[in-house]
Symmetry: C3
């Protein structure tokens, strides 16, 4: 299966919501899409109330016209099922399908996502509108892909969910004895003597049970996956040769384990909205894209790989904001050129294109100031000119669509680990697992190292260096896999709070860091989290913050030591040979420069070089490589100055041969390497 | 109709709650009121549970005695209907008349304002107690005025309200097609196919619909107005010659459009409690009083004007705190003399007196530490001595009661605009429309300019300069009115984020600032809000903060430019001739001094001078003028030093002729000008 | 009655939860307890769901084995009733016994404390499990004490509670007239005409009634006390010679008046968890221990005194954290030696030992990172080595068990006063009564003075100096008691906001500080709270903050005056002779050093010396004294340096005679004095 069906080259476009506009605007839309070389749009995401204005009464005429117009304009369509937002009539007819909060408040329609994925009426209605769409458009020549739903991630505590949670637990644990043991229900008199005593973690008097909280998030992920699979199967049956996917949303509140989902989609698709406006936006972009590629690699390693037929672990940036970074309380317009750099950062890492929310800025509705390819100001605008430029650029990059990134460094990321740490009262409330993984990725990014993001269970054989940042929860199988990787000669960096709890969120006894104690040749008896403003000088000139530990050496040697505080003179970073490999432990939160230096040193020891060792500071270099060995070196100048990179090749952006490459401030190059 | 009926001179007094005290205290109260020259008190505001201790069983005897005592003491009465706080028995009997939050929590009695204004049982009970009061006291000689309810401003989401909201929408939009279009319900699948699908904005999953949110606030305002009118009509029928009003409360949470209400009251009355303890208290006082006069002007321009028979747009400060400024988390006692200055600042701007909450400090209840004219310490206290002094002062100012303020500068204020901006996710969460209007008013106040506050629809013919600060929402009619005013030779200052959305809270397309683009000769494609700490230097030495915009000149010329950041060299403030007028645009939030200088310059260009050009910094000057041309110049010295003002006239406070006027630190003068 | 029954010497141990561990761990537990000289453990606190896995079906076998094992190991048992956490089956069977929040949310099980103490089904079930435990273990040789429940402190707003609240009010006020007067229901129309109109303070529109809020907390305290007494009586009937108690939890949220409860327990027991990690932990420890001794003194003055037979007002530290201080958002491991110092600080002040939560760190459950005597790392750990050391130390201190502390200074503390201040909108939201009392206690502690903490009604005859910090609420009886104490020659220090409200939380009129005006020879008309950053210089070089008052001298003389601000030159601290005594008034919040100096001066005037005048700064000295006159001087070096104290005696910790005493950094000594 080739995807998006009928497409060639990189995808470019975004969410298109013609239902917000009168038909006379549609023709202008298609004309402007052509001008911008848009070749793929997502249609129908939130159109349920327009597609089915009354129960069972469909109105497809307008959508027919839109698809015909798009097809006429050479724009292919990712057709969405509109199930993320049932119409108001549905809420009125099925109040039992509205979601209920942990406090017992049944939410109303009036926003979006007001449904319970476990409610039978919702499942039935979602199936019906999906089947109707499939029947109507299975043979439409514009149809390139199905996009199921939107950003799965809702949680509910109604009776249906409670019942489904019990079923899920029954399947997981078999009997109540196993559950009582796994959840440590002897603590605080929570022993369950019948399944019907178990509830979702609704409002209670005081702290919840960390094992229950973790299992509930696992359950929600599986329950939502079930809702996705039900739609996917309907669509597959109708159009066996059209790929089906759903767009992942990222965030600490999202109860979805995207790694687990990835074997069920035909293409990994993510929405990415950075939350920092400075250089953090570039770092978050790199991390999100590496995450997506990791999920795509997992998918490609699975039983079927329709998308991967074109190459390696391809994926798609399904949504991003063209001219906007949203930080808490504030929108930031992107500087000229940044749209292109962000887009190329995704494409460089394996995205099959760049898609945006949305095509035309809305006049009304809750996101009326959200950025769009075509802003409120219309086509005569910088934003639209940059959109046109982006379209032209992507068209020049068609050949890279076959390639992917191969890395020798891997950083572990596990959604379950995030949830586990959120479910417990940790020694420091400021600890955030995601920050720890981002810090490791950032250190590698700044050191110029490409890296893969791996989830527990992923094949580790290709990696010279594996980094486990704060891998709080680790199950026995993964601990064993890490041990084997190390014993076989891999290099390993483990940071504080790793290996502490088991798969049930229970502490591994005998001393920290539990699962990795002997691998690392150390033992820790207690944690010493720090005050927010506290900084501990280290013997190598770096600093630690947020966390420290009295590390006892049981085989390891100290690499650096603390110079201050209660732990002065004791090891901060250690090194230990285990089998053929070498394992480092980092017992504090290193400042960014020290972390970067440490990982660069370890990588060098492991024989790994940066992607482009000659790239100056601030120039990002990513290499995408085809199966036949062709390499494309993406160079993104994130600085405000002209930069020269002493490398040579044909720059696809200009068509000319460059040696060396000169990048304008904020500019890019994509070299086809000899 | 003359008001308060039977009164002469300025009103002085406040809320009087004799029901909190044993009868033996009442005589002392009246004696002390006489000592302080109190001539008007508001009685019965929260007395429902004492007036009707059981359903239908009235106890008026104590109130008879109180009114007789007051009458005997020469104190007139603003008799309140007690409907803001139904008795506990009412809640028990009519639980369906208790208010419901957006989360569905039905509130209990135990505080105040625990009623739903749309509940039939509440409306009936409110009508009955009102009618009973009217019947009992219609002919009481102390009765000078009816004060309906207290500070209308409650919101409810019960079924009655939901139904009333639908009726209101039906009346507004006629059909669902119009509503769906106005609300952009195509966004997020919110299309309504039946009226009963529409709900008030109760708890939902994510962001609400900004058009729905705005309409709900409009509806609540109208619904509460209906509750007021029902009572007013009962009272008018009983006492056609006694004026009826209600006291407005100000604040961003208040869902009342006071401008709209003002044609329904016989006298505009406001409660004013500043929220800043420093000079901000004086600035807020000036703004509130100018707001009130604007509403009074609108009332006076309406069909009937009983209150205005005594002069121009008179109004009344109905409540304020004698010796207290309440800032978040803290009470501040006013410095000696400040009570008088605050009171005169209101009177100078047209208030027919100065009224306070409350006469005697409560021993118990929720506001037991609220300031009063007669404090816990009793009459032997600075606070009471200042109250006596204030009474004497007001008595000397009787003649000003006929006058009003006339200004050549107007600042626009629109409650709807506030609500609209609160209903949307704006590019900066720190934006507050009220802050923007206050900043403009403050700039004029500091520059010594008197100004009117105008609402959309108010006559603009008398104004040489019109300032529209951040008038986010503007309907087509008002945009046209502004255009005509400018074309006719008016001067206009518009600040950022003005003209953006239409009456339905939908963005006006084609470039910002939407409705005012061609008037201003500029076009803006995108917004660049700033970080809290960010300051941008401007070419005239000023600074901008919070907001900036890449302004494109399409006819205008740059007055100042940005000197820093992405917009360095681009216009910050612009000027444009349109018809006979000149229009300025301010694309950032100017620092106070720069804003003051800009508005002073523009005013000078428009031929407008300060009220008293010779008044030194820190001395506020306001001129109230009678219909026959007499002018009274109020001079308020807000500084800690003696100040001399080179003006001449008879100082009503001393009775002597002054030339020049010497003001003690914190002192005042009121000159009858020749 | 001797307690804990059969014990000798000081108690040492903690909560032991064998139900969290497989039986094979129990033997190791007992062996390690022996190694650490543990002699008392609390068993069964949260074991209800294991003791009664199904309604009426008990499983005591495991507990039999545990008690036998403990007995065999020489460890005595405080057997807990498990009623603080009903099992899940109970919630399912009796949903009406689950607690309801003020918002009307009925909480679910899934944490702990999910019960309503007023629900009949809960009371019945609690009685049954208590009776079953009593029957089973009345004659068990390990049984040393009953510990009822855990940390009483839950609140509920269900119908049972509402009804119980009405009954309580009926008993308190007799008739509605008295209640309406006490609650000032004339304010805001809250007059009650029938008992059924009264509700608990559930969610309402705006501010609640401060008298109602206060009475509700009083009621909750009494209602919970009733629940305790019901269990105690069952246990007493079964085992007349085994003492019964419950462990008090401290905190502003806790609706329990521990002073009132203390006559109902056979031994005062507290849980203490400091909330500051620095020296504040030591200061809080001292205050908590002095509080506990005060309650124990009140108990000992009551009708029966089983515990006190061994000496004076003995009490027991029932729970604390061995190696942990928890501050908001962060856990702190205690520095080496601090566990011992904290423990001795309690023992020095009369605790009959040191008990901890918990024996063995949990693997799972909500408190999995809570510290324990036996940490996750196991016995080979610093934490356990310090636990062993503590056991050895306590064993050496057996003889002090007979002694108690006698102080000449008393600081007043009244839970009702705290609640009253929380129920009102005070002039400063930052005021916290507990902070004020802590500041006074801290000033004395730093000055080296031992002190008692007294509650209203306690005998004051032994005290040369009485300090009333911010005693906001004072009833007439206590005001009279204070007056008599002063008139009889006592010295008195009163700080701002004292004496303001009466027993019903109503302001005492006529000027502040109401009840103490003439005693202090001053009068205050108004309050001048300060901004957070504001500091006012005083004439003695000190500073005031947070609060100031224009103090008028009506007999008193100024000790220090304000040097800045509106009150420059006016008295800050005053002194006044009244009868034979001298009374000081402090009208601001003094900085710590100034407060310490003031109280030291006043104490000297009153003829009171520090406990150990020669102890250097940072060395805490507490003297425990036996009935026969033996004194034990505890010296705790809280500094990081060696300290020498020029005193002599036998150091029980070393067994040697010391003269002078040399304390290592962080070290301790306990001298038997000649």
């Amino acid at each position: 299966m080739r995807w998006p069906k009928g497409s060639t080259g990189l995808c470019y476009g975004g969410d298109y919501n013609p239902e917000q506009w009168p038909p006379e605007v549609w023709a202008e839309d298609v004309a402007l899409m052509r001008r911008a070389r848009v070749n793929l749009v997502t249609v129908g995401v939130f159109a349920w109330s327009r597609l089915e204005p009354r129960p069972g009464r469909y109105d497809f005429d307008w959508l027919d016209r839109v698809l015909d117009l798009l097809h006429g304009g050479g724009v292919r369509v990712a057709l969405a099922t509109p199930t993320a937002s049932p119409p108001p009539w549905f809420s009125l007819r099925h109040p039992d399908a509205l979601p209920v909060t942990a406090d017992g408040v049944r939410l109303s329609h009036g926003s979006r996502d007001t449904y319970c994925a476990s409610a039978p009426a919702y499942r039935t209605a979602a199936g019906e509108i999906t089947a109707a769409l499939a029947a109507r458009y299975a043979d439409h020549p514009a149809l390139a892909m199905w996009r199921v739903h939107n950003e799965y991630g809702t949680t509910c505590h109604c009776g249906y969910v409670t019942e489904a949670f019990r079923c899920w637990l029954r399947a997981r644990y078999g009997g109540l004895d196993a559950l009582n043991d796994a959840w440590t229900t002897s603590f605080w008199s929570q022993h369950y003597s019948a399944w019907e005593q178990i509830r979702t973690p609704v409002a209670t008097q005081y702290l919840g049970n960390p094992s229950q909280l973790l299992d509930f998030r696992r359950f929600v992920s599986d329950e939502l996956l079930g809702a996705y699979v039900a739609q996917r199967d309907l669509l597959r049956a109708a159009t066996p040769d059209v790929p089906v996917t759903t767009n992942y949303v990222l965030g600490g509140w999202v109860p979805v384990d995207h790694a687990r989902w990835s074997t069920e989609v035909d293409l990994v698709a993510i929405d990415h909205y950075p939350s920092e406006a400075g250089p953090g936006a570039e770092e978050q972009t790199a991390f999100a894209a590496d995450l997506a590629r990791g999920w795509a690699r997992r998918r490609a390693a699975g039983p079927t790989d329709p998308a991967g037929s074109a190459g390696g672990p391809a994926w798609l940036l399904m949504e991003s904001a063209p001219n906007l970074v949203l930080t808490p309380g504030r929108m930031h317009g992107k500087e000229p050129g940044r749209l292109l750099r962000h887009s190329l950062a995704h494409v460089a890492r394996g995205s099959r294109g760049a898609m945006f929310f949305q095509w035309r800025a809305s006049r009304g509705g809750a996101e009326l100031f959200h950025s769009a390819l075509l802003p409120h100001a219309g086509p005569e605008s910088r934003a639209f000119r940059e959109a046109v430029e982006l379209g032209e650029t992507l068209a020049r990059l068609s050949e890279v669509d076959d390639g992917t990134v191969r890395a020798s460094v891997a950083v572990a990321w596990d959604a379950t680990c995030w949830w586990a740490s959120q479910a417990s009262v940790l020694p420091s409330a400021r600890f955030d697992y995601a920050d720890e993984v981002a810090a490791a990725h950032r250190a590698l990014w700044r050191a110029g190292h490409g890296c893969d993001v791996v989830a527990p269970g992923d094949d580790l054989s290709g990696y010279a260096l594996l980094v486990l940042p704060a891998l709080h929860l680790v199950d026995d199988g993964y601990a064993e896999q890490v041990r084997a990787h190390l014993a076989g000669g891999g290099h390993l960096v483990v940071t504080y709070l790793s290996g502490i709890v088991d798969v049930y969120n229970r502490v591994r006894p005998g001393g920290y860091p539990g699962a990795f104690r002997d691998l690392l040749g150390i033992r820790v008896e207690e944690f010493h989290p720090l005050d927010p403003a506290e900084r501990l000088a280290l013997s190598d000139g770096g600093t630690g913050r947020d966390w420290s530990e009295p590390v006892e050496l049981t085989g390891a040697t100290a690499v650096t030591t603390y110079q201050q505080g209660r732990l002065a003179g004791r090891p901060a970073v250690t090194q230990h040979r285990h089998g053929e490999g070498v394992a480092w432990y980092v017992s504090t939160r290193l400042d960014d420069n020290t972390y970067r230096r440490l990982l660069a040193d370890v990588a060098r020891t492991a024989g790994v070089l940066p992607t482009c060792p000659s790239a100056p500071e601030g120039v990002e270099a990513v290499r995408r490589r085809s199966a036949d060995g062709t390499g494309w070196l993406f160079l993104l100048n994130h600085t405000d100055a002209v930069q020269t990179v002493p490398v040579a090749g044909t720059d696809l952006l200009t068509g000319g041969y460059a040696d060396p490459v000169t990048l304008p401030a904020g500019g890019c190059a994509v070299l086809r390497e000899e």
